[in-house]
Symmetry: C2
Subunit: 433 residues, 2 copies
Amino acid sequence: MTEAPSGSAMALQEAVHEMLRRAQGAKRTLFVASTKQKNEALREMGKALWAECAAILAANMEDVAAAREAGQPEARIDRLALDERRVRQMVDGLAALIELPDPVGERMEHFVRPNGLDIRKVRVPMGVIAMIYEARPNVTVDAAGLAVKTGNVAVLRGGREALKSNQAIVRALHRGLAAAGLPQDAVLLVERTERETVDMLIRARGLVDLAIPRGGEGLIRRVVENAIVPVIETGVGNCHVYVDKAADFAKATAVIVNAKIQRPSVCNAAETLLVHKDVAAQWLPEAARTLLASGVELRVCDRAYAALAAVGLADLVQHATEADWATEYLALTLAVRIVDSLDDAIAHIERYGTAHSEVIITEDEVAAEQFLQRVDAAVVYHNASSRFTDGFEFGFGAEIGISTQKLHARGPMGLRELTSYKYVVHGDGQVRK
Amino acid sequence: MTEAPSGSAMALQEAVHEMLRRAQGAKRTLFVASTKQKNEALREMGKALWAECAAILAANMEDVAAAREAGQPEARIDRLALDERRVRQMVDGLAALIELPDPVGERMEHFVRPNGLDIRKVRVPMGVIAMIYEARPNVTVDAAGLAVKTGNVAVLRGGREALKSNQAIVRALHRGLAAAGLPQDAVLLVERTERETVDMLIRARGLVDLAIPRGGEGLIRRVVENAIVPVIETGVGNCHVYVDKAADFAKATAVIVNAKIQRPSVCNAAETLLVHKDVAAQWLPEAARTLLASGVELRVCDRAYAALAAVGLADLVQHATEADWATEYLALTLAVRIVDSLDDAIAHIERYGTAHSEVIITEDEVAAEQFLQRVDAAVVYHNASSRFTDGFEFGFGAEIGISTQKLHARGPMGLRELTSYKYVVHGDGQVRK
């Protein structure tokens, strides 16, 4: 179904496959590297990054200048730009990984069968992981560090705008790997940033063991729809806060404000507020005033409009359309809907949610358990903000992203989620009857 | 990249999607069904199957007659044909599932964060599982039973030859589900067996939570390459037995004979024997005689040929070609290669193996540990037959297949591997700082 590649596309594919074969070569060494050796590599990678800070910042200035020239929006330039403090954070991130337990080698299960076979289920590295991401150069260090810590090989396909920064960073990481006696090919940067190289990575069966896209919805969809290597899907969150009829009003206001405004651009921010009809008149106006005062645009259903109009807020809110229920705004906008019951709240979430993070605010334990049990999302919360869906907040000490799929990993992914396992069986000549 | 479907293809797609929407409806009920209710359904499904045994056998006779008419090979007809004993086995299979612990609801982890958030990681059903398989009608019962036990909905796409049998079986299963008060849509049969319906299932994002192909290499490859829903890849096994220089000869012979001949048609049978050069002259002739006496065809490397010619076996063996190292014979054929070292054995397995089941026979613990650690396969064995790679042999009490991927599940898959998890978080109004 894919078109036959042209001559230059064939050459590009050969270059990508050649890089992946180098990655496969390095994989053997990483697969059996000791915790000590991997931690030593992380330490040396950090040292080299810091030693080359000036070169990295110089390369980054070129990227930033080019992005300005190309008229990129300021928010994007901010994500791209590095300074000494941000490089320091990268170094600190690598140092923090050293302190975490190594998941590789962990014995997950151990049992002995009646025939005497001794079976251990042991964590092993995943292999070659292709990380596909966009502008931020800190992801380059982060992904490389997580991969090395877990005995995986990282093949990094960053965005075009960050290429010079990424090249300077990876040069430093290579010095660190070499200083620790690990192969430089454990971290490889795809320097050709044509769109096609993404497709080549995600279709390289046998050469890429796992692909993880980190970025906007368009990138993730493209990877998921075209990949024939295993993929972990991350990131899209149309999250809801449901304020039940038995809600504590102070908790309800605190949680929706936090979930909406503390960092609106991220996937675990709330996008829709659902309010039980019995508390709409009493609680919603107060909450709306607080949200409006924080600069939140409210897009509300007809009943919510009526409730807010009754207290003189009609001019300050918009009417919601069907599209609002399905939109991940990633901005200071909130859809608001009044529902008749817990069942209706759950039905709304089932229909429009993305199974990321869903919240109920209630003092009714029965309603809470119903919600927590019936809503099928990566993380379900009772009386807490959806913003806690995060590897660091969960105490994993690291985060590779938030999985929104049900296979392999769900919710915040830490080091363990970058591993697979194998069964190691000891026998004494057993054969099957 | 997919062609726009024609009118009739659109109608077919709509019919498949309509069925999947019914599956999604049933999913809500199954998601929260109690262990008692699911076990009751399994009991009633078994009763109904047995009660309708005559109707099932009559339908199966039609399938078998049609297959004979179409000139299908006898082995395929044998897989298709049912008798009272085979129906009894299906019923017993459902009864065995009742006895197994329910993985759903299992608390995998529980921790409390410094801010008081109480976080539980809890097993939940996967959702709607599309099972795509070929001729054997027993897979229909098996897949339906595993799905119900784990709170999943099974959408069954069996082979064309078994359609009438599968229809009769699913009618009985529906009676059982209804008797237990569970929705009949928990088990759905795709009655249109055009090839296109497979593609429609594996491209129905949002309607199918997981697809599992069970069948030959062609089917599995087709599903993996075309799927945009999550897939677990099963089954292809090019398994090796490596007889080390420190091997116990009796164990070596027993294991290679068992791994090759006990059931040659399955994925965990051995396909290549690797022999350390130091024991080739002493052990290989004896082993070759035993294998030849059991009807095994041997395809051997030049050095093995010389060793066997030296004891007068030249006429009884074939020369191996490069293709033999990469072939999963699934028949009484064995490739044989002499290697210079443990390293060479591991390199051969890395190059030609499918990361299924790999065996070392040795009394040298150091060599064994090297092999077990460095070989990256679903199951690695020291002094035991590769034939133990099996959910029942591992004590799981059930088996949905052998995963040959590293994401989610690897090796024999039991009930747990049909589940995902979610995080259930209890708070008291916590917000993120």
